[in-house]
Amino acid sequence: MINSALFIQKKTPLILGILLLSTIIVSLGFGSYPIDYNRITEIILHLLGIGDYAVTLKEIAIIEYIRPPRILVATLSGIALGVSGAALQGMMRNPLVEPNLVGVTGGAAFGGVLAIVIGLAQAGTILLSFIGGLGALLSTFTLAKIMNLRSDGIALIMAGFFVGSFCLAGVGFLEFYDKSGALPNIVYWLLGTFRGADFTKLLLISTTTLIGLTVIILLRWRINLLSLGDVDAMAIGIDTRKLRWIIIIIVTFMVSSQVAVSGIIGWVGLIVPHIARMLVGPDHRLLLPTSALLGGLFVLGLDTITRSVTQGEIPVGVLSAFIGTPIVSFIFWKTKTKGWNE
């Protein structure tokens, strides 16, 4: 009995992977110009040069250029957020941590907006996003250490909240100062949206996400050891300081490129690891891939909903906060905020 449960747990990433792939294909058909699946198969076959079907230019444009980048960017954003959340929670031994709450997202947004306002190219935007995100994360950690309100982990969240709101006020300030007319775009981008995803963005987020994901997955054993506690981890011979830094940098790298591409999408990094933990338990060897896949599924699902159900495309960030916060409150209630330290 136990064995079969374990078997299912081990197979969860595989099942989720298949589910994610089929969702990607299914979501190709959704949108303001619905195309049915036989037609999609025909178009794809046509594009691959296998069959010869009569397809219109419009259909080719949609299936080749418009929907795939958007769908993949959404999936990869979700993967980045899910795995970052799981890694941060494991590293901090705190179930209430996520990129948004520790200030990374706010800092990255500030850096990105700064780059837009002073008119840098896309590479500059990403670099400044990264610097902003890293700066914010470091300020949060320093602040939490300085404040040192009993180490039940909530100090970290308070610190993250302060840093995050400071960064967002900075964003407000820049928005205000901006004379280049980029304001509506900035506002809409920051609310979190995949509209306007193209191949450049896809290239960017796929590079960072895949590199980050690989490194984190390679570190999965060590994250397991980190969640024991610093003393135990050191006794086993892990350089916890160095490991922490690596994780912080990788997470910042992934999250800031996600913000640069698709704005602030909060709460995904918090709830996805919890759901993943319910599915496969606390072992990071399974938890990390499961969180990645679940994150991809969740964000892709949200994006598909906004572009098909609602007419005017509600920003994904708004939708994720709308759905995410009640779930978070529920988790908060269930876990009684204890943090895992005690």
Partner: protein
């Protein structure tokens, strides 16, 4: 006997501080009337203001040009008064909340009142309601936000170290702001502009009607809080002690919550979300006059007014551009609050 002397001397001291604060506030109000893109001499501003508020004053002095009178009475006066009332409202409600919750990390924008009021206000804007209905909606939203926060906090209470409340506030606030985002999304272009600019916190839309909208709740609610200042002191002991002194803790809590929601709702309705003041000001006031709510409440009110006046004066003169005041208060307020936490290694008061 000695203890008594000490109490009396500290009473005199805090009364002195309050008098000085009042004087500074009055001077700042007049000074704010002088500054701006069209500067006026202090004495002239004072005379025009006195003429304006003195009910049986004579005709306008012929030395004053129509331009000067218009600037003082119609343009700067509402704005300055609005700034004063916003500061008073936030300072006093922050103090009341902190005293009531025995938690130094609480502020109106952290327990969900401000975002709830914003949500109510956005709904009102979208339904094109009048400004009075807007205050009512904002009040409803603010009460809802605060009740949600308290409910969530008490549901998930483990060791009540006060942090639970703030975390709940963050969650509820994020949820309500997502609701605001949905509202913004469904709003048409004109409404969107209005909502976005208003929510960032602004004093630019000051007019007589808005001054009244915030003045009445602030004065009435503020006086009500002043009336129960003794009980606030007793509440900050702790529940058991307060009950044994014959205070109906539950009732007092609800009264304070409703008053704060009313004050903050009117503040949000006229000037949007002005963050961090309600959290920072009570700490400064406590440094000046100590933890006794009899002097703490008025000191917070005056300091709040001074702070908002100063920030508003800054935007009007140095920066010369109308930066949303909520943005500025966050930029200034967060470093201050961080400094305070660092200095005090804040523990929440419940523990000790």
């Amino acid at each position: 006997m000695r203890q008594n002397d000490k109490a009396i001397s500290s009473y005199i001291k805090s009364n002195g501080i309050l008098t000085i604060l009042t004087a500074i506030t009055v001077i700042s109000v007049i000074a704010s009337l002088c500054i701006g893109t069209y500067p006026l001499p202090f004495s002239k501003a004072f005379e025009i203001m006195m003429h304006f508020i003195w009910p049986w004053s004579s005709d306008y002095n012929t030395e004053w040009t129509a331009k000067e009178i218009i600037i003082i009475e119609l343009i700067r006066m509402p704005r300055v008064l609005l700034a004063v009332f916003v500061g008073v409202a936030l300072g006093i409600s922050g103090t009341a909340l902190q005293g009531m919750m025995r938690n130094p990390l609480v502020g109106p924008d952290l327990v969900g009142v401000a975002s709830g009021a914003a949500f109510g206000g956005v709904l009102a804007v979208m339904m094109d309601m009048s400004s009075y209905t807007m205050v009512i909606m904002a009040f409803g939203g603010g009460m809802m936000g605060m009740v949600m926060t308290f409910a969530l906090a008490s549901l998930s209470k483990s060791e009540s170290n006060g942090m639970t409340l703030i975390l709940s506030g963050i969650f509820v606030g994020a949820f309500l702001m997502a609701c605001v985002g949905l509202g913004q999304f469904f709003a048409n272009d004109g409404q969107l502009n209005e909502i976005t600019f208003w929510l960032l916190g602004t004093l630019t839309r000051a007019n007589e009607e808005r001054v009244w909208t915030i003045a009445i709740p602030t004065l009435v609610g503020g006086s009500a809080l002043m009336f129960i200042r003794w009980r606030l002191n007793i509440l900050s002991l702790n529940d058991t002690d307060a009950m044994s002194l014959g205070i109906n803790v539950r009732l007092i809590r609800w009264v304070i919550i409703s008053i704060v929601a009313w004050i903050v709702a009117s503040q949000v309705a006229v000037s949007g979300i002005v963050a961090w003041i309600g959290l920072v000001i009570p700490h400064f006031a406590r440094m000046l006059v100590g933890p006794d709510h009899r002097s703490l409440l008025p000191a917070s009110a005056l300091l709040g007014a001074l702070f908002v006046l100063a920030i508003d004066a800054l935007t009007r003169t140095v920066i010369q551009e109308e930066i949303p005041i909520g943005v500025l208060t966050t930029l200034i307020g967060t470093p201050i609050i961080i400094l305070i936490f660092w200095k005090k290694q804040t523990k929440g008061w419940i523990s000790d």
